[in-house]
Symmetry: D2
Subunit: 246 residues, 4 copies
């Protein structure tokens, strides 16, 4: 193995899960953070670097193949002799709740753009790098994790855009797990079921304490997934607060 630290790449970094995942993986790896708007990753990049870790941000539109290609070209230059240990796809996409007959085509396509097309581009760019790492006999199997939602399991009324996207993401995760698992890559689909505890959700009040999912706990779950040996891959797990109805 190279003496350089390996890398992790996280797409979809805002103030919630993405940032926590970046912080967690930065404890061991250099991290590249992808988001359309640099304002979303700049604070985390600065924070990780200030704390002695290594982080870079790359402005990327995951629904645009060329933009993703460019991002990974830049990442490859950063890698030098190092390899990619983990790739986390955490792009939420806009959640649209609307009566079906009021949806425009553009609104309907939002779910697919983020969860289908975006995950496709990200996976196509990340998998060759993860495959390279398999040969480097890494401590942990190279890992590709997709952040998903309950909408991947159930299509609710007025949620056609989001549900079609998340169902598609789950299909992609399964297909990749079955193709790349035997090649030594761990592909996992994480069903996040509940409200995440971030600035934006501060106003949501619950009767119980700890009713919102701590993004740090999701990050711990992803890190645990990453450390699973290849004799013991988890391909799907759910995550929800103890008081969540499901």
């Amino acid at each position: 193995m190279s003496s350089q630290k390996a890398w992790a790449v996280v797409a979809g970094v805002g103030p919630g899960t993405g940032a926590s995942v970046a912080r967690r993986f930065a404890q061991k790896y250099s991290v590249a953070l992808l988001a359309r708007n640099p304002a979303n990753y700049d604070p985390v990049v600065a924070e990780i670097n200030a704390a002695g870790g290594k982080a870079i941000g790359i402005s990327t539109d995951v629904s645009d193949g060329k933009s993703v290609k460019n991002a990974f070209e830049q990442l490859k230059k950063e890698l030098g002799g190092a390899t990619l240990a983990a790739a986390i796809y955490n792009v939420g996409g806009g959640f649209i709740r609307k009566p079906f007959l009021e949806l425009t085509e553009e609104e309907f396509e939002v779910g697919w753009a983020a969860n289908g097309r975006g995950a496709f581009h990200f996976s196509q760019a990340a998998l060759p790098l993860l495959l390279e790492r398999v040969n480097a006999s890494p401590e942990y199997p190279p890992t590709l994790i997709f952040t998903s939602a309950t909408a991947a399991m159930k299509g609710s009324a007025h949620c056609a855009s989001f549900a079609t996207g998340k169902f598609a993401l789950r299909a992609l995760a399964q297909s990749l797990a079955r193709e790349f698992g035997p090649k030594g890559i761990h592909v996992a689909h994480a069903i996040i079921d509940g409200v995440i505890d971030i600035e934006r959700t501060k106003a949501y009040k619950f009767d119980h304490p700890d009713a919102k999912i701590k993004p740090e706990a999701i990050a711990d779950a992803y890190w645990y997934l990453h450390t699973q040996p290849r004799t013991c891959f988890t391909n799907e797990l759910d995550i929800r607060p103890y008081i969540e109805k499901w």
Copy 2:
């Protein structure tokens, strides 16, 4: 109710399921058959009209919103005072089996175009007409049926394009069933699991007789779904030959 016969519309008419469904629904309704290539519906249209039924064909590209809108404008003119009793979305889309890293974006999008975007356009055009019929106190609840596949339940290796499309279609079907069921429309997702017995599959040989699904039997299933009263809607069923492994 109008003295005119009600209509059914079938999108995705080739020599297999679509044609059989058209024939079956033509026993009670006038039928409009949609396919990109008129060569796909012309023989069935002629056959139904020759047999004393009423059928028209409309060349339509379901993945193009404008084309679907035009098709339904034409259909509405044909309706006159009649209503739409059933809409069947039977568009297969191209099935692509390929290692993931060899998929182009165009190939990956094939599944979505047919099963996500196409089903969206078709549903948006058909649902307002089906809602109108609810008020006409029809014999059977207006029905929207989606032809799906095992790939809606399981993402297999090398099938990312098809599986993402079919998972998305299932999400859409569930979302619409939950939104439009309470409005009196029956939405169903049919998982066709197996090889369909048509000209193109003649070469597929099995050790057992009746190993391929008869399209007429699928048509009977769809007709049965259509006749279910609103106290007893089936939202999902599977269909497979007796010898199919599942």
Copy 3:
């Protein structure tokens, strides 16, 4: 085929689904109705016979292997040269809703006794007769249908007894479908999701009309399943009123 009418057997006959299924299958077959308490089947038996059909009742405790064996011995005598065309297992078992720590072992076992053990005995007795009919080239493939519930798909709080029973019933249905499908027997699992419209549920009021499932419509669904050719077996379907939340 024998000139005698073939038979259908229905276990779990009360005033609801079981009686409706019996009436429906009695339109074509002689029917044997099984229930612990003759008071449950006597009125239906009388009604069918009065209407020119043929029905018998056999007092049976399905959770007791010997009792089921005796019932089928009696049935075999009635069959004479005729064969068994359909077997419907419609035993509800007691529905117990209770905090888990208050459940006695006896109460917990109620779900299994009805849905696991009972379905086992019934299937073991019915399948050999259904297999015999396969060889008689019947009009419709011999059919074994299990009445199930949403509790087969989701284990709710306070429903451990019922849910373990219904999950087990679904497992049994799948296992039998995969073993006996290739032998020509159609095994199906019907998920009834909603309140059934019977005397006992008269007090349940809903805001919408037709909010309860008509048992006649379930019977029609079972009859449709029975008529499916072996190229087109449905192994699982759900049934719910149009306004049901799911």
Copy 4:
């Protein structure tokens, strides 16, 4: 919290998963190991005690309510002022693969006895102790984990006994998670999909290395589940070797 170490209890301890789970939890807790035959837990008990941990074995027949009650009475005496931090139900039950019509009632009931009835008795005895610990503000939420299998998701031909048992176990796990999650107890269902790497499976040869699941890796997964905070409970995960077909 008491100065005494808290306890974990593991039911179903043989040379595989149970022993590894006991070793893992013994790193932090005193452990009580339950099995019918002391020969199954004696070596692990000795090993843990020799290594400076604390372990006891209690001969228990989980399918017998009285035997489970006795075991937990003994455990409670051992607890003294300490509390129960985790309970792991790892009872395999006999796996029976047989044509359905050759199954005796006794053989069919084997799956239920181990996975339904046994899990019921174990849960009823463990949950009151886990509830007590919730009030003790423990580091990790008290945890109840069930070892399950692919047979909990799919009923295969010739596996009616095992599949009905594992489906029932999954139903129980879901029901308990929904009832006791809001009370602060973490209930999880672990789908172990593959051959476990133990003495008994040495003869099973695969083309690939690491084709069998290491029991230590399952133990790590269970430990990770135990450490999840209540904002982030995983209620179900699958575990399989990278080369497993699924």
